[in-house]
Amino acid sequence: MFSRMLGFMSADMAIDLGTANTLVYVQGRGIVLAEPSVVAIADVRGKKQVVAVGEEAKQMLGRTPGYITASRPLRDGVIADFEVAEEMIKHFIRKVHNRRGFASPLIIVCVPSGSTAVERRAIQESAESAGARKVALIEEPMAAAIGAGLPVTEPSGSMVVDIGGGTTEVAVISLGGIVYSRSVRVGGDKMDEAIISYMRRHHNLLIGEPTAERIKMDVGAAAQSDDGDQGPLREVRGRDLMNGVPREVLVSQRQIAESLAEPVGTIVEAVKVALENTPPELAADIVDKGVVLTGGGALLYRLDQVLRDATGLAVVVAENPLQCVALGTGRALEERKRLGNVLTSMY
């Protein structure tokens, strides 16, 4: 009763707790916050204090002095550092809620479909200790499909590929439920790592994660162009491994595409395995309608083309791929009476 009264005064929210970005959807207001999932923590005389969260903390990533650690509390779509994740969620709730003392919202958080019960429990508990009145979980591919506007409740198969920061989720959905899902721990982060190791191997240049991410967004591509052209060029700055001095090299889109071949190949493989495991009737529907890409990874240049050539299916990118999961989770929040059966809870 009391918690219901508290809930009346607070705005319920849906959180897409992603490895790379966290999006918060508030009931009746839409997406109100989209920030990188980064927290900077200072160690002041043995006591840990949050210095910055989100965009500000991301600027600090890899540039911190000894007493500050900027870290990403999520890895591979699940919580790696429980306390930091809790601080981050608490910060976002406070930022969205101006009345801080009374805030006790219902929170819907999405979890990767391949996450274990322990990982789900960690997400639920961190949201609870961050001040939630009640926590419900939704599987990411379902949220992505709802957010992309796919007719998930129809008796017809829809295939969604959500390429996030930490995981890639491939799922076949029909009649409001997941028929088959596969989650591989490859996403934007693995692409960044691939770029870092490529630069080290081919250019003897050490670069940080933010730089790698910037290159990927700028000139990243899933495949080299057919006509052998180098594509746009970018300067990359880092530290030379041979003589230890900072240096700048020029890389082409073709080179980046080459470096990304491995993570892209893993994603293609995951989609193919999912297609192999799809029941034939649903496979027929997918041939008809195609595959929808969501998540930040869907923005990688020519990724849809690569998947199209590999599968022979109509692979298309959803509208607002970065926001699909948050929008779908938000819709589950808004219509939780009707969409209640896509929500789960660990208790």
Binding site: P151, V152, L175, D288, V292, A314, V317, E319, L339
Partner: protein
Amino acid sequence: MSPAVQPKEVAPIAPRTGGDLRAARERVGWGLDDLAHSLHIRPSYLEALEAGRINELPGNAYALAFLRSYATILGLDPNDVVRRFKAEAAQVNARTDLVFPVPVPERAVPAGAVVLLGVALAVGAYAGWYRLSGEGQLPAEANVQVPTRLASLVEQAPRTTITAPTPAAAPAPAAPPVQEAEAPPAPLISPGSAAAAVPPAPPDQPRIVLRASADAWLQVRDRSGQVLLSRTLHAGETWDVPPRPNLLLTTGNAGGTDLLVDGVTTGPLGGNGAVRRDLPLEPDQIKDGKLLATSLRPSPQ
């Protein structure tokens, strides 16, 4: 343009953007099949897109995504094409309606209806019982309240109770009922003493009045079983017996009940707390003292 021209087909919803796409494709020199081959989108969907018949596409989300792919491969700005398409066809902005399959409820009758029916039955049963069991009481009380015929007798009744014992030379007016109760055989019906004071009531008026000298549960019914009175009369309360033949009286406290026949008291019908059943309420028999005599025989105490 008008529906009459294309009677079989649904009117196109976004023909202009689709026409632009077709023009752009033809400028490049690609056929629909070339495009379908490279995008792996079925040619019929691309054709529907060009003609603006978005109802033929598998869904709004797919329509916009196909459009985006189409625009991208032609080198057009996909965002611009999608924006124009949306401006033309407002219905693609509609959210996909999600209706989850709900299991059919196992019971045919919903629980709410059953509960409602049960409550209605219970109320009906109670109302019926109340009506049937209270039926005898209602006319009896109505009789008491009829003032025109019975008012005189109702007024007489208390008066006679006071006047009747006085000839028996009781010193205190309040004492006589007690004395009478202690000496049951003494106040035999003596027609001479009170009959003069109160003239005999006309035959159609009640001749018998029940009077309670102590709290007593009384029931009056006729031989057919119709109940005229069934309640507790408190001390001093009286009840006029309607002038009907074949009435039977049952009392739960014979010692606290006495009868006034034409204003003459019979005295208590039995010992205190004794139960007497089915006493015939015939004025003449009571006057003769038959009732009292029968009353004394089965007295338990």
